[in-house]
Amino acid sequence: MSDKKKILAVDDEVQMTKMLKRNLDVTGKFEVRTENEGLKALAAAKEFRPDLILLDVMMPDADGGEVAAQILADPDLKGTPIIFLTAIVEKQEVEGSAGTIGGHPFLAKPIRTEDLITAIEENLRE
């Protein structure tokens, strides 16, 4: 059994998930699975059982917040760390919510891979 941490990346942007996966794969530390439809995120998570979920806030078919709530409501997935990725949240809001949305950490696009990995590792430790 691989000791790679399983990361589920959910974002409607195919290119985004593709590039994200490539960059994380390169590190050799993560096993990344991507999902481009918000509505399928819960099913993907139940099947993949990720150690951490990277979740886009705004998707055409689903709201990131709602998806997170469904995932966390699932007994099997309860407690899975989630990091939100967003293109719309502004700096002030980040400051106002201490860098979190609904208690979950938050990264604003564009995200440097280095920052992403740091955030993942920090959240996996918790």
Binding site: M16, N23, A87, E90, K91, I111
Partner: protein, 628 residues
């Protein structure tokens, strides 16, 4: 607090000037009305007095005319009497003494003022003795033709060609002394008689002293020549030759005048009759004072003494070849009785009306002032409300604009940030793949910088366009400036820039979102720092300006010692995305955001270049002035 104190004073003045102290021009009508009223009163008084004087003059003239007419009438009666006697002589070849007496008596009885009525026949020298004898025969044993000898003494007439002795004289007893007297021996009488003879008309003598008048009053002789025929001869020569004698009347002037005055009512007129044909010494014939004249009453007004002197009635009467001048002068009583109080009454009445009209103007101007003040007040209030409405409208428009831009920006941000995220991941992958490959690493770094710059722009746009909800609380602007300065202190020190603060001792607190206002000052300080790059000063000054009540403002100046702003850039400096900084150094949104925040606070920002160099930003925060 000197600044605040001076503001209060100036505010007070500013408040007063448009409405408190009315312009002096408003009061001009008051003295004008008063002066016009006063002038009109004096003028009318003068005019009324003039009219009254004119009326008095007219009345006086009429009284004078009445008197002259009356005197003429009396004299005409005397002349008529003489002519009647002459006709009597013409109609009788011989008139006996008793016939003359009978004829003359009715005249003497009815006509006052007749001293005596005489018949003076012509007696030639050769007839004298027979004549004198004949008269003596009539019962006058001492009769003889006499004349003036040694002055007034009557003595026997000297020998001469002819004599005109007083033959008949009625009122004989009173005139007995002149019986037989030849008046031609006296210069005054001779002049009149010879003239009457030569002109064949009535002749009047100069003033005489009739012996009949015991009071010694002046008199006059009227002489009518009687020729042989009824019609007088044409030539003087023939007149002298055919002369039969003279009818003489001796009249007392006093009686003539006083009897004439019986015909006219007393009018307070003193009369004087002068003989203009006589020598200056003998000119005055008669003068009479009006009844009650010369009383001691003072005149009503000093002006009347002029009237007393000015008023004169002068008329000439032609009588028997002499020119008599009748002069009437008024008595003080006449003036007193003629004057009325009307001109004097006009003065207080005129003054009262003037005062009333002036008072009306004072009240009216006061009322007008009040209305004008009210209009100014209401206009100011309206203007203020209007400004507030405009501001609110601007604010709404601005908010609406910002909202739509904000929506757009949010959409754009989402759409742009995702690709930027992809690119960033791509860059990260490439960096990892091209590690240690020299030029490629550099290219990757440039790409990352570009992504970062694009990201800053997107963030700025979102910042700029966001419809903000201000969290306002009353704050001291000086404090907020000082807090902002602290936040940029590190940045300023790094660039070796000194921040000089000249803050007013005390500024009124104003409602503001302190975080936003801090952002404003941070933007301005950073802007100045970037303009100067290294070494220089940022000078912050706060102060108060007076204004119109609620227009009072706190003025903040943020100046730098940098190169200033090119003149053609000044008007665009607050436009979004306008920047003078090198590419990558600024988003061009800082001053736009600053201006927006200030607009949300109803404050303004202006920019100018300082004469000594550097840029100067002036911020004005309005606040409600102190109500006094």
């Amino acid at each position: 607090m000197p600044v605040l104190h001076s503001l209060t004073t100036r505010q007070a003045i500013a408040k007063l000037s448009p409405s408190g102290s009315p312009h002096w021009k408003h009061y001009v009508p008051i003295p004008v009305v008063f002066l016009v009223g006063l002038t009109l009163t004096v003028f009318l008084n003068h005019e009324l007095y003039g009219i009254e004087r004119e009326a008095i003059g007219q009345r006086f003239r009429e009284a004078g005319e009445d008197r002259v007419v009356a005197i003429r009438k009396v004299i005409d009666n005397k002349i008529l009497m003489l002519e009647a006697v002459r006709s009597f002589f013409h109609s009788s070849a011989r008139v006996e003494r008793h016939e003359f007496r009978d004829f003359a008596q009715p005249f003497l009885t009815h006509e006052g003022g007749v001293g005596s009525l005489q018949w003076l026949p012509r007696v030639r020298a050769d007839e004298r003795t027979a004549y004198e004898a004949a008269v003596r025969e009539e019962g006058f044993p001492e009769f003889g033709i006499r004349e003036v000898v040694e002055g007034a003494i009557l003595g026997p007439a000297g020998a001469r060609e002819e004599y005109f002795p007083v033959h008949f004289v009625e009122r004989f007893e009173e005139n007995r002394a002149v019986f037989g007297f030849d008046p031609l021996s006296s210069a005054v009488e001779r002049e009149a008689l010879e003239r009457a003879r030569d002109v064949a008309q009535l002749a009047a003598s100069a003033r005489i002293q009739p012996i009949q008048d015991p009071e010694g009053g002046a008199g006059v002789i009227l002489a009518l020549p009687v020729y042989a025929a009824v019609d007088p001869p044409a030539s003087v020569e023939n007149r002298r030759r055919s002369l039969r004698g003279f009818i003489l009347g001796i009249f007392s002037l006093k009686v003539i005048v006083s009897s004439s005055l019986d015909y006219v009512p007393d009018a307070g007129m003193n009369l004087e009759i002068a003989d203009l044909t006589a020598s200056a010494a003998d000119r005055l014939l008669f003068s009479v004072a009006a009844k009650g004249a010369g009383s001691e009453h003072g005149l009503k007004f000093s002006l009347d003494s002029a009237l007393l002197e000015d008023l004169r009635y002068v008329e000439e009467i032609s009588l028997g070849g002499r020119r008599w001048q009748v002069t009437g002068t008024p008595t003080i009583e006449f003036i007193q009785d003629s004057l009325t109080w009307y001109p004097l009454l006009l003065l207080p009445i005129g003054l009262a009306i003037t005062s009333l009209v002036t008072g009306y103007f004072v009240v009216n101007i006061g009322r007008q002032q009040k209305i004008e003040r009210l209009v100014v007040k209401r206009t100011t209030e309206l203007r203020h409300s209007n400004q507030q409405l405009r501001d609110a409208q601007d604010h709404l428009i601005q908010a609406a604009k910002l909202e739509s831009v904000g929506r757009l920006a949010a959409g754009v941000a989402h759409e742009v940030k995702n690709p930027l995220g992809v690119i960033q991941f791509g860059i990260d992958y490439l960096r990892q793949a091209t590690r240690d490959s020299g030029d490629l690493s550099e290219v990757v770094q440039e790409m990352e910088d570009a992504v970062s710059r694009a990201d800053v722009v997107i963030r700025g746009l979102v910042d700029f366009s966001r419809a903000e909800t201000l969290r306002k609380e009353s704050r001291d602007l000086n404090e907020v400036i000082q807090q902002s300065a602290k936040l940029v202190k590190h940045e300023l020190t790094q660039h070796n820039i000194i921040l000089q603060m000249h803050l007013a001792d005390q500024v009124p607190t104003i409602p503001m979102d302190a975080n936003k206002i801090k952002q404003v000052f941070i933007n301005l300080f950073m802007n100045a720092t970037q303009a100067m790059e290294r070494n220089g000063s940022v000078i912050v000054t706060t102060g108060l300006t007076d204004g119109q009540g609620s227009e009072a403002t706190i003025v903040v100046k943020v100046e730098d010692t940098g190169p200033g702003i090119p003149e053609d850039h000044l008007q665009h400096i607050f436009d979004p995305f306008f920047t003078t900084k090198p590419p990558g150094k600024g988003t061009g949104l800082g001053l736009s955001v600053t201006q927006n925040i200030l607009k949300l606070h109803h404050a303004t920002i202006d920019v100018a270049n300082r004469p000594e160099g550097g840029a100067s930003f002036t911020l004005r925060f309005r606040f409600e002035g102190e109500k006094e």
